[in-house]
């Protein structure tokens, strides 16, 4: 189906909340989802997979120039870890992030480090993404599967000069944003957990208005 960015933000917010994230982290997921969708990156499948795994159970720990799970054998949540990277702010030294789910989801967070003269390169597996404030290097069709990787053992993050971004971003807001029906429905199931079922009293008092209106 074709959806709007507003619908994407709203669904990401509520599905992340429905999956157990705090409101503040769910807000981060929403803004990150919108960032990915605006760049035609596979946000919905990766988010649905991620949220199915109770990802915020393990905290990230900063160890020198690396961020790793605080428990051996655990995996990092990219939204929790991305929020940490965003909070801490730009790192001039390269950083390694170890054992992380859905590494693509770090991109929207380190994108907040960028300025017109400063881009960020994210690399894992076969993927190398250069992110500027309004630009994104073309990941190439072959890399799409790697972009959507559910897990990687190491992501490298480094600042690069701002000009290193070939593919200028043109938001596709005139056409809407295509999304896979399966992933959308999976997220809707999580979203549904945030709604309160009606009761006899809520039907009477919850909203106020209720009369027919023929005057």
């Amino acid at each position: 189906m074709i959806v709007s960015l507003n619908e994407i933000e709203s669904l990401a917010l509520k599905s992340a909340r429905g999956a157990g994230m705090s409101w503040g982290l769910a807000e981060e997921a929403a803004v990150a989802a919108s960032w990915l969708a605006a760049r035609s990156l596979p946000w919905a499948e990766t988010l649905a997979d991620l949220l199915a795994q109770q990802p915020v159970a393990c905290q990230p720990r900063i160890e020198g120039d690396a961020i790793a799970p605080s428990r051996a054998g655990a995996r990092l949540c990219p939204i929790l870890t991305g929020a940490l990277l965003s909070d801490v702010g730009v790192s001039v030294r390269p950083i390694k992030v170890r054992d992380i789910l859905a590494p693509l989801w770090l991109a929207p967070f380190v994108a907040r480090w960028t300025t017109p003269g400063r881009a960020v390169r994210l690399a894992w597996g076969e993927v190398s993404l250069a992110i500027g404030p309004n630009t994104l290097s073309n990941p190439g069709a072959a890399a799409m599967e790697a972009l959507a990787a559910p897990f990687t053992s190491c992501v490298e993050i480094a600042l690069v000069p701002g000009a290193d971004t070939a593919h200028s971003l043109r938001q596709r807001n005139r056409d809407g944003y295509p999304v896979a029906d399966d992933a959308w429905r999976a997220l809707q199931l999580l979203e549904h957990r945030t709604y309160v079922p009606a009761s006899a009293q809520s039907r009477l008092s919850g909203a106020g208005a209720g009369l027919l209106d023929n005057d």
């Binding site: 940490l84 702010g89 309160v196 106020g208």
Partner: protein
């Protein structure tokens, strides 16, 4: 502006009213429209840029069923309101947003729709939320007839008579919108699609244009149906009477969370209005022309208040007090209030003691009114890119965040959340209707699914946790330990730079009147005649007295909302 001397006496000369005064629900719930309100700013823009309005299609039958198209030329761009008329059974006519059928449904279309596009809209727009839309569809809306008045107006006109003016004034509109959707709902265009266009750069301008065109449709519709019924005998509405028809709206809780969810945006709105007030109060003298303008607007306000009725037991006495306030103001103005230095400032300070809160806020509107040249630029400062304020500064230390809480959130200490009355309500989204609702914590299930609108309680909870945290700890480290406070930390950091961003009252108190939130937002839209139907929803009127599209470029309509435009034919 030179006569006003404003260039020698800047806005710094009088301080803005503090947030502890402005952002209280009791005052927000007494807000009135001003010349910065969105629908007035939209009409001024339309006049200035000479928007061209046409009605290329009006295929509606005697039951009101069919299609009409209204076209607006805005520079090189064109927008089209596509209106569908329906035959609605009386038992289906409800004000609630959750209805499934309406008398008329509308889409504001980006460009000129061809037949295929109108056909696509015809398959979707009449079912509203149940349809799917494209980014070419900017706004979605629907409306129901105000049945009694609608039928009487059609009846009179088809007999060749003008309808009864008092009856028209009492209702004030032929149709009432029950929802106006923008910003990406159901697949329509995201706000980002139009935010860069000058005509829609201000908040809710596309929504206001849509409602303005719907109002024109309702007046055209009754005249058209009168002709179909009465033939050559039928009359058209006399222009002054026609202009007294606004467009109604019924608004409920769905709108309330908006003010809480967009603190940086609300700060822009409030800052614009308060800056306008401060600029006026800083003027050293009142020119003769400004005095006369003020007195004309005051007379208009008194007429407006005289025609403002409600059965609401809280609002009705407030309206009566406001009428008395305006009489007091008139008498005061007649006894030399404009003599001496800084007369507008003295008038405001007089009102702080002499008038009710309703009266004070009406005076704010009246003070701003004669000073378009001084304040109208502020209408273009009321939007913000919220992405700019989203990032949390995690390098900030716990001690510094605690200091912001002390300076900006002292008000939140007023409620004692160990008491049931302070923690009585919870905001939630209903599974049945997917709309915001307000529940009673003690009696209703679902409080664990509460929406993050209990700002005061969450702030007090954060304050307590911060008091136990190491003062030197960074917020990045603190939030790793305490992610449940993340949304509150973000708000607090935003509020440090957006002083009017926060409603400074407890939004889950037992005595909360949610319509106070609605009224404030609606006043910024530019509506009049707030008519509460309970503490959770109200009816209002938009564009009453406004020129119609075909009149817009004839004469000076600046004061239309007070009924004091200079060139009414």
């Amino acid at each position: 502006m030179s006569a006003a001397g404003s260039e020698v006496c800047g806005p710094e000369a009088v301080a803005l009213r503090p947030p502890d005064v402005v952002m209280r629900l009791a005052r927000m719930g007494a807000a009135h429209q001003t010349r910065l309100s969105f629908l007035r700013a939209m009409l001024r823009h339309a006049v200035r840029e000479r928007w061209q309005f046409t009605r290329p299609r009006f295929d509606i039958d005697a039951r009101g069923v069919g299609v009409a198209v209204y076209r607006v030329g805005v520079g090189e761009r064109t927008y089209s309101l596509v209106a569908f008329g329906h035959d609605l059974a009386p038992e289906q006519r409800t004000d609630r947003v959750i209805a499934e059928a309406w008398d008329a449904t509308f889409a504001l279309y980006d460009g000129v729709p061809d037949d295929a596009e109108i056909e696509r809209l015809r398959r979707n727009v009449p079912v509203q939320e149940a349809g799917r839309y494209l980014p070419s569809d900017l706004i979605l809306a629907r409306a129901n007839r105000s049945v009694r008045l609608f039928d009487r107006v059609v009846g009179a006109l088809s007999d060749g008579r003008q309808p009864d003016a008092a009856e028209m004034e009492a209702t004030g509109y032929l149709m009432r919108t029950t929802a106006v959707y923008g910003n990406g709902k159901f697949g329509i265009a995201d706000r980002a699609v139009i935010a860069g266009r000058p005509e829609f750069a201000g908040p809710f301008r596309a929504e206001m244009l849509t409602v303005y065109l719907i109002r024109a449709f309702t007046a055209d519709l009754v005249e058209h149906m009168a002709v179909l019924r009465g033939g050559a005998r039928a009359a058209t509405l006399a222009p002054p009477l026609r202009r007294r028809l606004g467009i109604g709206n019924a608004t409920g809780l769905g709108m309330a969370p908006f003010l809480v969810r967009h603190p940086a945006l609300i700060d822009r709105w409030m800052t614009a209005r308060e800056t306008a007030l401060a600029r006026v109060r800083a003027l050293p003298v009142a020119t003769r022309g400004q005095q006369e303008h003020f007195i004309r607007a005051l007379a208009g306000a008194r007429r407006q208040v005289a025609g403002w009725t409600t059965d609401d037991p809280v609002q009705a006495p407030r309206i009566a007090a406001l009428a008395a306030d305006l009489e007091r103001l008139r008498a005061h103005v007649g006894t030399g209030a404009f003599d001496g230095p800084m007369p507008w400032d003295r008038l405001y300070r007089w009102a702080e003691h002499a008038l009710s809160v309703e009266g004070q806020e009406m005076l704010v509107s009246l003070l701003i009114e004669p000073h378009g040249a001084l304040v109208d630029d502020l209408a273009e400062t009321m939007a913000i890119d919220e992405a700019e304020v989203f990032r949390i500064d995690g390098a900030m230390r716990v001690r510094d965040l605690a200091a912001i809480l002390d300076s900006t959130y002292a008000w939140a200490r007023a409620a004692d959340f160990s008491q049931p009355a302070a923690n009585a309500r919870f905001w939630y989204v209903s599974e049945e209707k997917l709309e915001p609702r307000l529940g009673q914590r003690a009696d209703e299930p679902g409080a664990e699914l509460e929406q993050p609108l209990a700002v005061a309680r969450d702030v007090e909870s954060l304050r307590a946790v911060l008091a136990r945290a190491p003062p030197d700890e960074t917020l990045a480290a603190f939030l790793l330990r305490a992610p449940e406070h993340r949304h509150t930390v973000r708000r607090v950091q935003i509020s440090a730079h957006h002083p009017y961003g926060e409603v400074r009252d407890n939004l889950i108190a037992a005595d909360l009147r949610a319509i106070d939130l609605l009224r404030c937002k609606l006043a910024f839209f530019g509506v009049t005649r707030f008519d509460p139907q309970s503490d959770k929803w109200l009816r209002i009127t938009l564009f009453q007295g406004a020129p119609y599209p075909h009149e817009l470029h004839d004469g000076d309509w600046d004061g239309w909302i007070w009924g004091v435009a200079d060139a009414q034919p």
